[in-house]
Amino acid sequence: MKRSIVVFVVILILCIPSAVAAQGSPEGQIEGQVKIEPNGEGDVSDLEATITWFIGAKIETSYGTRTNDDGTFSFSNLPTDPDYTYFVSVHYGDSEFHSSPITFESGENIKSVEITVFPFDSGEDDNLEYLFAAFAIVWVVIFGYVLFLQQRQKRLRHDIETLKTLIKEND
């Protein structure tokens, strides 16, 4: 009996690590990098990055950190259970930019993510060149036309004077 209890305890002790591994040990890490569009120029330091994780559709928890000078950030001590799905969001300007869903595969404990942010009104700024082009073309064409009329008028005045002089001479 005593022997069987010892065997049982030994088996139990041997099973603990695999049971813990199956649960997903909190040793996962998500490393991230914030990139800025359209040309990579802009300050991506000290931005608020938040990680949220779900089990199924249920939000488990979320917490935040701030990006380093180069736009990198890291979340550690995360459960690596494949049932857990993580999302990272970065607050930039007035907008939130989200990562794709992140899941640890079995045996994996580090994941990398890249989040691209862009100024909220970048679309408007891009269109400024269209507005400028339209405006410039309108005035270049109108001034060009006025100049053309003026030049022709000048030539005509000269022609009229010349013709009048010739007529006078003929008379």
Binding site: D121, G123, E124, D125, D126, N127, L128, Y130, L131, A133, A134, F135, I137, V138, V141, I142, Y145, V146, L149, Q150, R152, Q153, L156, R157, D159, I160, L163, K164, L166, I167, N170
Partner: protein
């Protein structure tokens, strides 16, 4: 008479310049950015006035062409010719600014929808008007043919205007009555400015066309 004409010209020029400055202020500083389209919507404040002036110019061609065919007075023909030329310049600008607006909004420079296609036909019609005049062997004959084109071609103007209501088009419908107060004010000031510009251009162009006629007359006298 000459002094009065010059005074009228200078007054219009001064008024036009002042209104142009006010228009620029209204277009780019005063009027709020439209929420849906953003900053590109500001093209509206000169795209629509350009179209308005083009329609006005072709309306003048229509009336003066009728008067020319009826009275056979060359002053009406001169006015029609001058107005058609300005109408073509302004329609060209409408056809340039429209695609510049369309590109960021629709993702393409051009689409063969009713408004755009009828506008292109309008432009081609008045290009034909100018070509008929310049290629006609007899000036009087050219003026008569052009007058017919000027009258028939004007039928397209209401078609262009109503096309957005008659057919399903990508071009937005006329929503002037729905404009917010500051937007309507900006549009109206801009329309007034471009109308004054049209008046200045027509005066200058008529004077030029009269000058051309005078040169022809003097050459005739010299040849005799």
């Amino acid at each position: 008479m000459k002094i009065r004409g010059s005074l009228r010209n200078n007054t219009l020029l001064g008024l036009g310049f002042a209104l142009m400055m006010i228009s620029l202020y209204l277009m780019f500083i005063y009027v709020p950015t439209e929420k849906g389209m953003g900053i590109i919507q500001r093209i509206f404040y000169f795209h629509v006035p350009l179209a308005w002036v083009a329609f006005l110019a072709f309306f003048v061609v229509f009336i003066t062409s009728i008067l020319y065919l009826w009275k056979r007075d060359t002053k009406w023909d001169t006015l029609a010719h001058a107005s058609a030329e300005i109408g073509v310049v302004f329609t060209t600008l409408v056809l340039i600014t429209g695609p510049i607006w369309a590109r960021p909004e629709w993702g393409s420079w051009w689409t063969w929808d009713a408004r755009l296609t009828s506008s292109l036909i309008l432009w081609l019609t008045y290009i034909a008007y100018l070509l008929v005049r310049s290629f006609a062997e007899e000036e009087e004959k050219g003026a008569r043919f052009a007058a017919v084109i000027g009258i028939v071609g004007f039928i397209n103007v209401p078609i262009v205007y109503l096309s957005v209501n008659l057919w399903r088009t990508q071009h937005p419908p006329e929503l002037v009555s729905d404009l917010e107060g500051s937007m309507l004010l900006t549009l109206l000031v801009s329309i007034t400015t471009f109308t004054i510009l049209y008046c200045l251009l027509i005066m200058r162009n008529v004077s030029l066309k009269s000058g051309i006629a005078e040169v022809k007359r003097l050459r005739g006298l010299l040849e005799e």
